[in-house]
């Protein structure tokens, strides 16, 4: 299997504090991978260590099919969580500078930078100094800089924070293009809807430990259905132990428990002769899983 990133038993300590504790996961080549975790859980430290900015206390890190961070770096695009660019410098100059440092010629760096600025709607601002841009614009320029050399692996630390919905959508579309080109995208976030929308596989980290890793759908299926959605002309008057919530168009969602199984619900409708147009087990949302797992992790601390 070709891995864009392999992390094995990674541990990182700052003084006496263990910030990343024995984490292992892999990211496949060409996928969009969500790296989830609440604030302060160790996501940024994991990313910085994976990129070789910090040195791990234990564990192995391999990028782009077994390369070290130093060797892989020319093929990696990185958007750090700490945003910022040289404030007194022109946007086009900064892109040319960073593009050249990532192996492009002066002309190619400038051309590619301007092309990407076009795509994010900032071409008109190419000759402006960074200090003249809004925070969101600066973030987009930095995002552009991370893509300028068409990297094979794109690592984005909280890429959507502070952006308006339009720019978030724009960024997601550009990342989809990068994925189609063959690049692997890893992004960290605590916004679960972004992960559900973009990723098939995720890793969830809480309190320095990895608590979930794998295919998002499989994780949800493995957790089992926690409710049933029923669509019918009417609903049973009496269903013992039912916690239900009426929805639109004759839909009702029943929360499952030991006292209320799907069979009991189905039997209740049948016994009253109600015709069903839909009966569906609902998988837990990522939000539910996140809250449950993080809460469990904190309880066991």
């Amino acid at each position: 299997m070709a891995y864009a990133l392999e992390i094995e038993g990674l541990t990182k300590r700052f003084g006496d504090k263990t910030v990343v504790n024995d984490i292992s996961f892999t990211v496949d080549e060409g996928e969009v991978f969500g790296f989830l975790g609440p604030n302060g859980s160790g996501k940024t430290t994991t990313i910085r260590t994976a990129l070789g900015i910090l040195r791990q206390d234990a564990g192995e890190i391999r990028l782009l099919n077994g390369l070290s961070a130093t060797d892989a770096m020319p093929r990696v695009g990185y958007l750090p969580e700490e945003r910022g660019l040289l404030r007194k410098e022109k946007v086009s100059n900064i892109l040319r500078y960073l593009g050249r440092l990532r192996g492009l010629s002066k002309t190619d760096a400038l051309d590619r930078g301007l092309e990407l600025l076009h795509r994010v709607g900032l071409y008109e601002h190419r000759d402006k100094k960074v200090e003249g841009l809004s925070r969101g614009m600066t973030q987009l320029v930095q995002f552009v800089a991370s893509l300028i050399h068409q990297p094979d692996l794109i690592i984005l630390d909280e890429p959507f924070s502070g952006l308006d919905p339009l720019n978030v959508q724009l960024m997601k579309e550009m990342l989809a293009i990068e994925q189609n080109r063959g690049a692997t995208v890893i992004f960290s976030t605590h916004v679960l809807s972004d992960v559900e929308e973009m990723s098939e596989r995720v890793a969830l980290i809480a309190d320095s430990r990895l608590i979930l890793f794998g295919d998002l759908h499989e994780i949800r299926v493995a957790r089992g259905a926690n409710s049933v959605l029923v669509e019918a002309t009417s609903h049973p008057r009496f269903l013992p132990g039912a916690q239900h919530q009426a929805g639109r168009g004759g839909q009702t969602e029943y929360r499952l428990s030991d006292q209320l199984t799907p069979e009991m619900i189905l039997n209740a409708y049948a016994s009253e002769g109600i015709v069903l147009s839909r009966f569906e087990q609902v998988l837990p949302s990522l939000n539910d899983i996140f809250i449950e797992e993080v809460s469990n992790a904190r309880q066991h601390r």
Partner: protein, 412 residues
């Protein structure tokens, strides 16, 4: 050891271009030569316009009243007007006909006292009219007894020709005192240029390094190239911008110095052996490099330009010490103080320059000092790269030796 040289070259180019695009750099680069040209061409014109003219003898028209008869034998003296009474003299002073009035009392020869009348503000001790009139008095006193040549010798007894005698007793003429000053001057000029480059260059370096940290751009840089390439590119790029500035000034100076040197004797004929000039140039570069690498380390460890500036001001002091103690080093260029300072990296550049100015005979020590300086520069460059990398961990933290050491260990 020196990182990726291709990346260092890119950073060199970018830093150089960024620096020379700065308004501050441009204003300073043009401003200094402009000031030189003003001093060279405008100041003499203004001085001439506002001066009272004056003759060649005492420089200005000066009146005197002689009650002693000591000046009776002087027929005329350029710029001197003999007056008959105090009332007439003070009126001439008020009318601006004379710059000063000297009254020689009857008992002058016995008492040696003369009254000096002047108008306006300013210290009499800073007014050379008084010294010029003393020469008039010297001539007046001896004129009756000595020939013109002897009078000239009393006023200006001799100009020395210097001879240096080697261990075998062979004398070798080294010219006049003026020649000696002319030979020492280039070393002083280089020392001043070095100090200037350090002061100006260090500010740019601190700004450049801390700016990227304050602006949070450092993580993008550090994942694009090695810290060593970043530091090397910065030091050389900003150094080249500084050097360009100095070259522009030197061109301006070559135009204006002949004009200025007319006003300051001894500057008109700078001379030094080629090997010493090469040594001075080498020390200039090594000296800049060692201080620049040190400044880069400080910038890398600091969290703001202000914090970095405070610390950097302290480490610049060693560069000044040899110039401050030049009165001890130059007369004794191979003494203990001079020797010790030659082998301390931060004092070595200027100390060696002062020793060259003093005409040191231990050139091998100077070359050894150069080696010490250059090696220290390379070590400090390596250190600055490590600190720069570790500095990422010090975001927002207050700098202390402990925190920097901790970050250095974390960064690996």
């Amino acid at each position: 050891m020196l990182g990726n040289t291709a990346d260092a070259r890119i950073i060199f180019e970018e830093e150089f271009n960024r620096q020379i695009r700065r308004t501050g750099w441009r204003v300073f680069t043009v401003g200094v030569p402009l000031l030189m040209l003003i001093v060279a061409f405008v100041v003499p014109v203004i001085t001439d316009t506002f001066s009272d003219g004056g003759g060649s003898g005492v420089g200005e028209t000066v009146g005197f009243i002689d009650h002693s008869g000591v000046t009776d034998s002087l027929e005329s003296f350029p710029g001197l007007i003999r007056l008959s009474g105090l009332d007439i003299g003070t009126q001439a002073l008020v009318d601006g006909e004379i710059k000063a009035l000297f009254v020689i009392p009857a008992d002058y020869v016995a008492a040696g006292r003369v009254d000096w009348y002047r108008q306006g503000s300013g210290l009499a001790s800073e007014d050379n009219t008084g010294d010029a009139f003393l020469n008039v008095l010297r001539i007046a006193v001896i004129d009756d007894f000595l020939s013109d040549e002897l009078v000239a010798r009393v006023i200006s007894p001799a100009s020395y020709t210097l001879f240096k005698v080697d261990d075998l007793g062979r004398p070798d003429s080294s010219g006049s005192l003026q020649d000696e000053i002319a030979r020492a001057a280039p070393a002083f000029v280089f020392a001043m240029l070095l100090l200037f480059s350090i002061f100006v260059g260090s500010g740019s370096l601190l700004q450049s390094v801390t700016e990227e940290k304050e602006n949070r751009m450092v993580e993008m840089l550090i994942t694009s190239t090695s810290p060593m390439s970043i530091m090397l590119g910065k030091i050389l790029g900003l150094g080249a911008a500084g050097l360009l500035q100095i070259l522009i000034w030197l061109v301006a100076a070559s135009i204006s110095v002949p004009q200025i040197s007319d006003q300051f004797s001894g500057l008109s004929s700078l001379s030094l052996e080629v090997d010493l000039i090469v040594l001075l140039i080498a020390f200039y570069f090594a000296g800049y490099f060692v201080f620049a690498a040190l400044m880069a380390s400080i910038g890398a460890a600091s969290t703001s330009v202000r914090e970095a500036s405070q610390i950097s001001a302290i480490v610049m002091v060693p560069a000044i010490i040899p110039i401050y103690t030049s009165a001890l080093i130059i007369p004794n260029p191979d003494g203990v103080l001079a020797r010790v300072l030659t082998f301390i990296p931060l004092t070595s550049p200027t100390a060696s320059m002062m020793r060259i100015a003093g005409g040191t005979e231990a050139l091998y020590e100077i070359i050894l000092g150069l080696l010490v300086t250059a090696l220290s520069g390379v070590f400090l460059l390596w250190l600055s790269a490590r600190v720069f990398r570790a500095g990422i961990l010090l975001y927002g933290q207050r700098m202390s030796l402990r925190s920097v050491w901790g970050a250095l260990r974390q960064a690996g």
